[in-house]
Amino acid sequence: MKFDTVIIGGGLSGLTAGIELARAGRKTAIVSTGQSAIHFSSGSMELLGYDRDRHPVENPIEEIAHLDPVHPYSRLGKERVIELLKRVKPLFEETGVKVSGSHQRNHWRLTPMGQMKPAWLTLEDYLTLESPQSLPWKKVAVINVDGFLDFYPRFIEAGLRQRGVECLTASVTVPAITHQRESTTEMRATNIARVVNSESVNQLADVINRTCPDAEAILFPAVIGFDNFEASRRLKELVKRPLHFVSTMGASVPGVRTQLMMQSYFRCIGGAFMLGDTVTRGYFSADGRRLLSVETANFADDHLEADNFIFAAGSFFSHGLNSTPSGVFEPVLGLDTDAPDDRSAWFDKNIFKPQPYMRYGLTTDSSFHAMRGGRTVENLIVTGASLSGADALREGSGAGISLLTALNAADTILTSKN
């Protein structure tokens, strides 16, 4: 099979690059195992949340100047970052994913454990706050679903109370969810979202309307709306007070929904999304300067050939990187990695301190091309969490790096001579 571009990895980064390329009329394929980091997202995306000393950043753009030179943002350059940022919201708009937020000023989101974290873009039905201290209510109700263990009303209550908001807690259910409870493992956010149909939304709205009547607003776990915004919008309409979703732990409904909507849009505009497949091997030109084709688990005989490739397989968690006691490696194409061999340098023994391994990734040239055996692979660009140089978790930059390096990779391919 012959494509213009084959993308390895169907997470936020791979899909973003895929949509850009497919929209430009390029024949594009994405190979995806089916699960990616976005499936565990919080409903918000981060551009740059914290500075070097872990102080929350107000204006992410200004903070970029203070990042390490090896950071993907520094390598793109501030001007280029701003240019690319302007394309992000329209891209989400196009795929039907509604987000709010600005790259000039972070807002705040509420976590399922009652903490506040800076965010850049947040899905439309989620709670966003201007500042972690100024909450817009005096009294709010945190309503959980009966028997749902991945959401913590009492932790949220404690967090809000600390900020001067009185907080009521309650839990509700509807028949479809009660039925779900009969299985010992089905009370997970995404499983609940699958069974809540329009009838259950009506029932749910009824019971929420009767619960904690003197609360000004309702906070509800993000367990509604598996693959589109219909159910969550309808619930918000039917509930007579403002209702905001708060992210849950475990597989994330907003994350799965975002991924599914982007995936379906990519397919709509002609992209080939090879779900449940995985690249097993790459074939390089004799001089090693070009990747010619890749073999996948499902197409062992019919390799995917392409002019260009994008490596967006993620970090350790997504198996874009792997390790043995004696080093970090990229498991499929044998690409060069940017990490020390000595494993005692990888970790801090306090898990909540900076972990060096978080910054490891693939070695790339100045335009993000992968390296192999010390030489640039001219038609293979690395994006997102596979890049080295950033502790995306600690600084709050995961989504930003994924999106911006993907847009940049698409541009590189679209403007190249091939």
Binding site: L149, Y152, F317, S318, F352, L393
Partner: protein
Amino acid sequence: MKKLDKHYDVIVIGGGATGAGTARDCAMRGLKVLLVERFDFTAGATGRNHGLLHSGARYAVTDGESASECIKENMILRKIARHCVEDTGGLFITLPEDDLAYQQLFIEKCREAGINAEAIDPDLARRIEPAVNPDLIGAVKVPDGAVDPFRLTTANVIDARRHGADVITYHEVVRFIISGNRMEGIVMRDVHTGEETEAVGSVVVNAAGIWGHLLAKKAGVDINMFPAKGSLLIFGHRVNNTVINRCRKPANADILVPGDTICLIGTTSDRVPFDQIDNMEVTPDEVDILIREGEKLAPQLATTRILRAYAGVRPLVASDDDPSGRSISRGIVCLDHAKRDGLEGFVTITGGKLMTYRLMAEWATDMVCAKLGLTDRKCTTAETPLPGSETPLEVNDTKKDKDGHPSRQHIIELPTEQLAAEGRHGSLTEEIRWQNPGDDALVCECEQVSVGEVEFAIDKLHVHNLINLRRRTRLGMGTCQGQLCACRAAGLLDKADRCTERALDDLCSFVNERWKGMYPVAWGDTVSEIQFTQWIYSGVAGLDEFLDGRDTEHLLH
């Protein structure tokens, strides 16, 4: 200072198997007992060993007395602690590089100690245990097994309480109340609040393992103990179903024990200074030795994921006439400090091993009773089943296993989470609620721990935090090492009306405690798992925000 009202007959210090066993024995003999533990039960060496139900064969050649104690206790534990024991059987294998002549001596010495050791054909050994190194040139079958030290200790604590003992955890004994040449009680400090409380009693038993050395010093008594660190690795699943030992003189990493869902290789053995005993770390060299030697027992270990590394400290006791510590006894040491040091009312029970905890408790209790002039009180712990092993479970009488015992198969097959709970708690499972909706919902999917079991543990098993809960139920001990179950359980613990602040701190401690065992062996899938854990705990849940500006050093302990 606060003072407990009761005057105890005996105050037992140390919540390991020995302390819990001593508290049980004393309480069963009608004494008024207080058991005090600095942290949680099984927090010391009890919870940091192989979980091997020794047949004694390992000591047969070098220490016949220990060997015969082991086999006797082995047979006793099979009766009184059925729900903590798994009869896996054991093999002592001879590899091509080992001396086959040792096997003959080994079998002779085993028989002398009363251990049923039988040489078998290597072919049969390969059939009994397909994971064994196929190159073996000799094999001996012995009655080894697996024992869960967490549940064993908990059962002893439960029984001590049933017989009237008071139990206090998270209190460190900071000094003794001594009047003249007589021990009269203790002062203990709440490790969380720092508040001190006095408790008085006729006899104080020091059952604090290696920490007993430091404790005795506080009473002005010198016991010549040496901390010996032993490191182990836990593998992600059961590679073997039979204990595999090397048939040679005891050495590093020559025992592979299956237990619950995992298997364990160990140990190394190194003297460490006393300032390290509260914070054992497994070094890369130790990890390398354990893997290298482990692969010789079961080659499959080379490709099996390592879940964790951990280390315990054995209390080695030197003879009183040898302060240099060259002549170390591995046997039980029961010291009457009245005779030895002129301090009345103080007893130390140490040395020994998990296998002989009950016998150690018996010796200590005998000594306590002698001091109290109650020599007519006979020990019954060898015959009385522990809670959990008391009544036969609901059984299908028509089915018998190969030994003629009623089979544990239920008339109606139970759901997995109930079977798992039963495997862990034996007949105590009857106290777990299953009738309300959601009681059977799984909190920990790896180890099949349900809401009902968690709530039972919180109510009945002395659970104050997530680490306690893990030790009582195996929650967070599976392949994901507490990724989502930890926060679910934190939610349930918090519901039991606790301070939310403390609950979050507890959750952070738990995540760090899991990491402590992971980072020495973090490569491959373990790095993927921990990266995911970090993303959800810091990224999604925002525990990093919670910790920002707080001291996180305490999370390391």
